[in-house]
């Protein structure tokens, strides 16, 4: 299945991630949790964007839906955390949103699709923004409690323990998404990306394949939403916002669309830059905007591919070693 070098390097990365909290100050461990959460988000978007060729500016719709479902259940219904129910409800509702949206939206062509998805997610933002009674309006819903795992000795209030909680889900999702993308289903997505007409004339129901990809991608985006709700301890309409969707998209492109690892790297880069720059100036949005523009203009194939190309070039140097 996976070749041995790949498995080894992934194991090394996993070990590295597991050991990091031992050397990092607590603040950075917290940031790392956020990075892993958005890595899941970006990778899920890559399934659509990089593998199926369906770019989306509305991916935040799934993250936001799951986050809000968790928020509402946690704060209003259970008045505490019922993890199993919240997790499943969150992810399931994201899938439902995708199932409904997909019926209407997937018949449209590229540019249209982009805009319709964006409009749909912003619509949800608008609803969350205005709906005070249930969703807290523009103040959002604070007071989300983290899962209680005291029975196994985990106190998720601790930054480090929460990090391992997130890491666990990251590893599981990464493995699952990797499997999906390399499965025979995932193979058909590549075909769709390359030539939809060819796929149709080969006998594929292209719409159906896209629909499934859409829902699968939403499931993982929903998972990231659930984790985000616990991470922040609150949900706000910005979970649905175009800004979140666009950030996801730039993480995918910056990291490298269609590589799965790339978007995870992209998530790390964007969040680190945001964090770093906002410490120096309140005009970090200008820097971020400039990064968007420069990425598209000068590094559209993404950092991960760039890195692999450089490795190839320097092969003669390190191979004999």
């Amino acid at each position: 299945m996976k070749n041995p070098i790949q498995s080894l390097s992934l194991a090394i990365v996993a070990a590295f991630l597991a050991l990091l909290p031992l050397v990092l100050p607590s603040f950075y461990t917290g940031l790392l949790s956020l990075i892993l959460i958005f890595a899941i988000f970006a990778m899920s978007l890559d399934i659509l964007q990089g593998y199926t060729g369906l770019p989306s500016l509305g991916h935040a719709a799934f993250l936001g839906t799951a986050a809000y479902v968790v928020g509402v259940l946690n704060v209003k219904v259970f008045k505490g955390c019922s993890f199993g129910v919240e997790l499943i409800s969150g992810v399931f509702s994201a899938a439902v949103v995708a199932a409904l949206l997909g019926l209407i939206v997937l018949r449209s062509r590229e540019v249209y699709l982009l805009m319709i998805l964006m409009a749909s997610s912003m619509m949800l933002w608008g609803i969350a923004f205005k709906w005070r009674s249930l969703a807290g309006g523009d103040d959002g819903l604070p007071g989300i409690s983290r899962p209680n795992f005291n029975l196994i000795g985990w106190n998720l209030a601790s930054t480090t323990h929460f990090y391992y909680f997130v890491l666990l889900f990251f590893i599981i999702s990464a493995i699952l998404m990797y499997l999906v993308v390399h499965s025979s289903f995932g193979h058909t997505l590549l075909g769709i990306r390359e030539s939809e007409t060819r796929m149709q004339s080969l006998g594929y129901n292209v719409w159906l394949q896209k629909y499934i990809a859409f829902i699968v991608s939403a499931i993982f985006a929903g998972l990231s939403g659930v984790l985000l709700a616990y991470y922040n301890g609150f949900v706000s309409p910005s979970e649905f916002h175009l800004v979140t969707s666009a950030e996801g998209l730039i993480m995918v492109i910056l990291g490298g669309a269609g590589t799965l690892i790339g978007p995870a790297i992209g998530a790390a880069i964007i969040l680190l830059v945001k964090n770093f720059v906002s410490g120096y100036t309140e005009h970090w949005m200008i820097i971020l905007g400039a990064i968007y523009i420069f990425t598209v203009m000068f590094a559209p194939q993404g950092v991960y591919r760039l890195f692999k190309q450089l490795l190839q070039k320097w092969r003669p140097i390190w191979k004999p070693l």
Binding site: V180, S183, S184, T188, Q200, L202
Partner: protein, 254 residues
């Protein structure tokens, strides 16, 4: 309407684009195993006809029957599943994917593999051995890991045909298959087609008259979207209208 004996029946097919009439009242039948060539000047409606037959565009009026079924309203992929295969005039392969990937995708189209979200492609041993068989047959096995866009043009055209063949389609629509091929490659193509067994029904559009008449058993002549003549190659060649409009260019000294 009973149409069980024929592989393809086209009944009064018309297609209008805005004010433009691309096809008008086109009717013809194709028996199973027959080789039908469709000829006509540029803009006569040949490619439009193929687009409609394969389900890429819908006709304005008329009906189509394939293997006895009324497929007029069927989607492209449903027709493909029925047995209609098509090659494209402009190479329409999965360029960034490898030769092997292209064949595998053609083979995964039927069956449940395409819905399996967790099982890796590499684990389908039977699909892989089938792909190997067909690629070896055509001498492309050692090119299997090369991305299609790196193949020569002739190899790409060949792959177009292999792709369709690997799917066991029984009605083949070949759209300008020799386009861009050298004379030797075109000759090789002709003998390949001639060697196809009779369970394949073939419709062919090709601007190369030599290729066309070496393969055709029946010829359909289109002119401004209408059927000008339909019959055996001799009948069509002998048709004065056809000669006037179209064949005058070709040096028929025989």
């Amino acid at each position: 309407m009973e149409a069980h004996l024929e592989a393809l029946v086209v009944e009064n097919l018309s297609k209008h684009f805005g004010g433009l009439s691309a096809l008008e009242g086109v009717s013809f039948r194709v028996d199973p195993g027959e080789r039908l060539a469709i000829i006509g000047p540029n803009g006569a409606g040949k490619t439009t006809l193929f687009q409609i037959l394969s389900g890429m565009i819908t006709p304005s009026s008329g009906r189509i029957f394939a293997f006895g079924k009324d497929i007029t309203k069927w989607s492209a992929h449903r027709r493909a599943a029925l047995g209609i295969g098509r090659t494209f005039q402009i190479t329409n392969l999965f360029l960034k994917l490898t030769v092997l990937d292209n064949i595998l995708l053609a083979m995964e189209a039927s069956g449940l593999a395409r819905f399996n979200l967790l099982r890796p492609v590499s684990s389908y041993k039977d699909l892989h051995s089938q792909a190997e068989k067909i690629l070896r047959q055509w001498g492309m096995w050692d090119r299997r890991d090369i991305p299609v866009r790196s193949l020569s043009y002739g190899e790409q055209r060949q792959l177009e045909i292999i792709l369709t063949l690997s799917q066991n389609r029984s009605l083949l629509l070949l759209d300008e298959p020799t386009c861009g091929l050298s004379p030797e490659e075109a000759k090789s193509f002709v003998s390949t087609i001639r060697s196809f067994p009779r369970n394949f029904t073939i419709l062919l559009i090709d601007h190369d008259m030599d290729v066309t008449f070496e393969i055709a058993e029946k010829v359909l002549v289109l002119h401004f979207g209408e059927v000008l003549a339909f019959g055996s190659p001799e009948e069509v060649k002998g048709n004065s209208q056809v000669q006037e409009i179209y064949m005058g260019r070709d040096d028929e000294s025989s």
